[in-house]
């Protein structure tokens, strides 16, 4: 098995390390970091905005660049969290706690290096784990029937709902609304147009870019204009001592290992375990530490562990997408949309039918992580300067990126109107305390669920009990029900609220 894995990885590295693909990985990492480090732009808007860049490329090159953008944006988010305490995304909120304190004590360089090295270590381990277990998970999934797939997606949706912020009831409704939008267009089974109002632009469905860039890109612009974030203090400290001293290293190393394990495990869970992993690993380190009082005051382990967990989780969140065709978080949903635009259906078949793509992407994950370490530490000075760019100069450019991205896909003015519509909807939902992530996941998974539901019920003659008679399906459904019930318990609900409060 290990020989197989090494052989497969060799194929992957051969595909991923052509000069052109290395170039795309580099461009992706740089662009991702560049946008991710800019104030007020998180990872999801970054990926959504830069998605259209990949459409003219070969599928593997496009995916490699997108994955690079994803890692780069995360790395940029950590840099912003450490230097100016402005976490661009939920995964680096915890990093901001101790990272910024370290920076204030003049250890900014060390904090950045710890974050980078922890991420690299976690990325390497997670890449190996995916290579080792991905294919067997995919072959397990080969046994799945349509009923099992349907239940699997129900589980994925339940996880998404549970991990969304705020009310579960509203998250479910938002997800189902995404499902409805997913039904727009030609119904393959009956050849009937649904909700298209005679508009040719809707025949193939609602544009994936219009909905995702509207909900994540333009709504962010509006939110930042309406609620300007207090400007981060310009980092006055010099970035000297780029390397952690021996004591910092000794404190971080075990934390990195623990964070990596935790992140790899939680990342696989559908529903976005990477963020959860960073919170859990931080509190774990605080409990294990001999000096818990240093946490929040610049403890190196408080930077190392959540960064490792977050990055490992980000990596392993590819597993459900690549092996089951199940996007576990909004970014994976975006990547899945991109794959479908490239004509690749993510899922069990990808390992057997497009091994070059599967292994190439895995190899590129490691390459991307390596590039980020090698490139970003020397470029810290540049990122610091970017951090201080005023939002007044940024937002028109961000808005234009969004418009160009949507327009370049179909080249029709209607897509832009659709974009405006989803921006308005996303804005209204934001003001009602609803998160947009469940909508995009419902939008992507919806049509697949309909297909599998229809197939399962046709086979069973319309009998819904097929979903509880098949053991795989029953287990998955039981897990979803259990999960939703657990969330209804007052004690857990409280700790969930606290986790999001921090």
């Amino acid at each position: 098995m290990i020989a197989d894995m090494l052989n497969n990885l060799a194929i992957g590295f051969a595909g991923a390390s052509t000069l052109a693909n290395l170039g795309y990985a580099l461009v992706g990492c740089l662009l991702g970091t560049l946008v991710g480090v800019l104030p007020g732009i998180g990872v999801v808007p970054t990926v959504a905005m830069l998605l259209p860049l990949s459409f003219g490329m070969e599928p593997l090159s496009g995916l490699i660049m997108l994955a690079g953008i994803y890692y780069g944006a995360q790395y940029g988010g950590s840099t912003a969290a450490i230097l100016v305490r402005m976490p661009g995304e939920a995964g680096s909120i915890v990093t901001a706690l101790d990272g910024y304190e370290m920076a204030r004590k003049g250890r900014a360089g060390s904090a950045l290096a710890i974050a980078a090295l922890a991420s690299f270590f976690a990325g390497t381990v997670a890449t190996l784990l995916i290579a080792a277990f991905g294919p067997s998970l995919a072959s397990l999934a080969m046994k799945f029937h349509s009923a099992d797939y349907f239940s699997l997606m129900v589980l994925g949706l339940s996880m998404t709902v549970v991990l969304a912020q705020g009310s579960i009831l509203k998250a479910i409704a938002v997800m189902l609304i995404g499902f409805i939008f997913g039904l727009v267009g030609l119904d393959i089974n009956s050849g009937v147009q649904r909700f298209t109002f005679g508009i040719p632009d809707l025949w193939e469905g609602v544009s994936f870019l219009a909905i995702s860039i509207g909900l994540f890109g333009l709504v962010e612009v509006v939110r930042n204009l309406e609620f300007p974030e207090p400007r981060g203090d310009r980092p006055k400290m010099k970035i000297r001592d780029l390397y952690p001293n021996r004591e910092e290293f000794r404190e971080s190393a075990p934390a990195v290992v623990r964070g990596t394990i935790l992140g790899s495990l939680l990342g696989v869970l559908p529903g976005g375990g990477a963020v959860l992993a960073s919170f859990v690993s931080y509190s774990l380190e605080k409990k294990l530490s001999k000096r818990p009082e240093t946490f929040g005051k610049g403890a190196p382990a408080g930077v190392a562990s959540p960064e490792a967990a977050n990055n490992a989780g980000a990596q392993t969140s590819f597993v459900p997408l690549l092996t089951l065709g199940l996007p576990s978080n909004p970014i994976m949903a975006l990547l899945m949309g991109a794959m479908m635009i490239h004509g690749i259906a993510p899922g069990t078949a990808i390992v057997s039918e497009r091994p070059d793509l599967f292994w190439g992407l895995i190899a590129s994950m490691w390459i991307g992580n390596l590039m980020l370490v090698v490139l970003n530490l020397p470029l810290v000075g540049l990122w610091v300067r970017l951090l201080t760019i005023s939002y007044d100069l940024l937002f028109p450019a961000i808005m234009m990126f969004c418009l160009i991205g949507v327009y370049s896909e179909g080249g029709s003015a209607f897509q832009i109107l659709l974009l405006a519509g989803f921006t308005l909807l996303g804005y209204l939902l934001m003001r009602c305390g609803c998160e947009p992530a469940p909508m995009i996941i419902g939008f992507i998974l919806g049509p697949m669920m309909e297909e599998n539901l229809r197939r399962a019920l046709t086979v069973s003659g319309g009998d819904y009990s097929v979903f509880i008679e098949r053991p795989i399906s029953a287990t998955l459904l039981a897990a979803s029900v259990l999960l939703l019930l657990l969330m209804a318990l007052p004690g857990l609900r409280k700790s969930r609220a606290e986790a999001f409060q921090e």
Partner: protein, 148 residues
């Protein structure tokens, strides 16, 4: 500035119910079929009714569950970003990329308050030029630069 005094949950409930009703109304002519032989209207109906029910529950829940009010809404950012977006959509085919994006950018600047003249001038001139060079000249997107 608009002050919306109803609670977040109530507004959410209204949005959910409206979308659910829209799904039922516009999906009314789709054949529902049976569960063994699903028609194109089976799920739209099921989803429409479910979203409406969730909306009703969310709304009724506000009676005993406290939900914060929506509060102050600054109309400037949302309206001007939407205006800028639509302006770009309507103009890009007839007026070309440079003019359409300059007008969109000009509108968006007012979403952030009153821009100063040099700032507005700089954004409206430099940004469209830079974007045109990157995306249309450099990456070769098939968008017309000008109206001719």
């Amino acid at each position: 500035m608009l002050n919306i005094r109803i609670s977040q949950d109530l507004l959410a409930a209204i949005i959910f119910i409206l979308i659910g009703v829209a799904a039922l109304v516009f999906g009314a002519d789709l054949r529902a079929g049976t569960s063994a032989d699903m028609g194109p209207g089976y799920l739209p109906r099921a989803l429409g009714w479910t979203v409406i029910s969730l909306g009703v529950i969310t709304g009724l829940r506000t009676i005993w569950l406290h939900s914060p009010v929506v509060g102050q809404v600054k109309l400037r950012p949302i309206i001007l970003i939407l205006v800028a977006t639509c302006a770009f959509g309507f103009l890009v085919e007839s007026a070309g990329f440079v003019v359409a994006s300059a007008i969109a950018i000009f509108n968006s600047l007012f979403g952030n308050g009153r821009p100063s003249v040099p700032y507005a001038l700089g954004m409206v001139v430099i940004l469209p030029a830079a974007l045109a060079i990157i995306f249309i000249v450099g990456l070769g997107l098939p968008i017309d630069l000008w109206w001719f």
